[in-house]
Symmetry: C2
Subunit: 333 residues, 2 copies
């Protein structure tokens, strides 16, 4: 599959975004750009899973309110999260009655949803579609690592799952267009350290970004920013160096959402942020703001996902990665 | 969202299918129609999860061989399963290097994948796309219920997760067309019994089938068969009765894959089969055979999914359901 071009009629556009995050994210680098910051990690719910569902639900409500849309006018919603059987999505969406495609792409899910929503709008299957994802530090720690009460020590390469949800309303007639998409392939370099996800996902990001540049025959300075999802400080260095070797020297154009979301000095998150809500909330807040306010014109968003589970790691399997790319460009007029 | 129509150019067709199942399924009602029957539930692997991945991998290889296709000619694969973080799909697909959209729709995933593959082909984003899913009795029992060694008693309403994988190659120029699709909404009637999934999923099936008939203004005898995914003996009776009340009397046209796959008398599976591999393997073997051999002309396939997890059930949540429908029709010529 080569990079998909959304040209001609029904050009898919991002009409609105919404972002809702937790306390730690609200104290990070992008604090001024979020729609909702919840200082209570539980969001008044009885469990972390219910809290995450509520975060996603609140964020979708915020998106609809900002866009002045009712749920019944949304034709399709593409949604996923990190929890087993995607229960944050399932319970978060139940009250909206929107036709629903459930996705699992680990931390790449937000861009996976954007690509499918763009296809649905461009192909004429939906007038308006939503891509939305969530993650929650506490529900993820419990599911993937240790109960919080255990107080486990984190390794320097570990990333911090973002408590956040990002959502994008995709339709036609806007100025911020989704022009191209590169659907990721599963890439497995045999990395088995579940505490070094950035390194596991970097090869997939490198492959998809390289493919995108090659398919469109772009020079390295075409995009204002090339943004990876959540490689973190370690994985982003791997991606930057390898892309440079391939002739794609991104210089100061390269951003990683996991690197950007937290304050490296003041917030102790080790290798950076991660999770389905990481690139979703960074794009839906700050990056969309940059595009909308004409502070930049072209962004390549490459969300990365580690396609493992605790069970596969216990069984000695490696960590396959995937990266989906969308090119998002503000039209001239 | 109303029912989607795939009319005009690029009509999406099912060009080939493949089905691979376990021993018990191979002793069931549809034994003559499967491509592969594995009498070793482990498929020579060291864990149930690896066995399920291998089942899916083998089935995709079989599909490509039957169709005379190479993996590099497949533009997109839509794939999902029941395991946490969909590891059967992730590890099963890693060697194929096909651009990949990971899905989670519980037992509705096969039709979810077919709809998205049909959109991708009809919209011109893929020339050839594959929808594939798997489930495995042993990996599901361990994850959702009890370790097999525990020897837990099953309730009469419990369903038996099918060990199976079904796959469909979707492209253009064939005779068996995907003409319409109704994307499901999440429906929650407050059912909390995780051992009675059929009842939990029936309302979603009823709603989606009703919507499909209404949107297309069809009479109850339009389809040769209306097929639900895996409501089992109990859920299918609920669906049949309620649809009749809505004026859609399906009489002897109604089939449920979970009811059909096992021999009720000879095989002790209680309420019938279930799982991502249930409607996938039933469609990809017997139903596709009926269409291809001109034994029937029109099928409505309504795959149902229960959108819960053990965690959500432990936390007292209800079981939301979803049902996606595709109309599959053999063209006249």
């Amino acid at each position: 599959m080569k990079t998909i071009s959304f040209s001609g009629t029904n050009k898919p556009c991002i009409l609105e975004t919404a972002s809702s995050v937790g306390k730690k994210e609200g104290e990070g680098n992008l604090a001024p750009y979020y729609d909702n910051i919840f200082t209570d990690s539980r969001l008044s719910e009885k469990s972390w899973e219910k809290a995450e569902s509520k975060l996603l639900k609140t964020n979708l409500t915020t998106l609809l309110n900002k866009a002045g849309e009712k749920a019944e006018n949304i034709d399709l919603v593409f949604c996923g999260d990190l929890l087993n059987q995607c229960i944050s999505s399932n319970f978060g969406l139940v009250d909206f009655h929107i036709p629903f495609f459930g996705l699992y792409g680990a931390c790449s899910t937000f861009v996976e949803g954007m690509i499918l929503a763009a296809m649905a709008v461009h192909g004429g299957y939906a007038k308006k579609a939503v891509a939305i994802t969530s993650s929650h530090f506490c529900s993820s720690e419990r599911q993937y690592r240790f109960p919080l009460e255990y107080g486990g020590q984190r390794t320097p390469t570990a990333q911090w799952t973002v408590t956040g949800s990002g959502a994008a309303l995709i339709g036609t007639g806007g100025k911020i267009e989704i022009t191209h998409a590169t659907v990721g392939k599963i890439v497995d370099y045999g990395i088995t350290d579940a505490n070094n996800m950035g390194a596991a996902m970097a090869p997939a990001a490198i492959e998809s970004i390289k493919q995108h540049f090659e398919d469109r025959n772009l020079s390295p300075d075409y995009f204002d920013y090339v943004v990876t999802g959540d490689l973190g400080h370690i994985g982003m260095q791997v991606a930057y160096d390898q892309l440079k070797k391939y002739g794609i020297d991104l210089k100061d154009r390269y951003i990683d959402c996991g690197d950007k979301i937290f304050d490296k000095e003041a917030q102790d998150v080790h290798a950076g942020g991660s999770g389905c809500g990481c690139c979703a909330s960074v794009f839906s807040s700050w990056l969309y703001h940059l595009l909308k306010e004409k502070k930049c014109k072209r962004i390549l968003l490459a969300a990365t996902g580690a396609l493992m589970s605790p069970t596969s790691s216990f069984q000695g399997e490696s960590i396959p990665g995937i990266a989906h790319c969308v090119a998002i460009e503000r039209s001239e007029n």
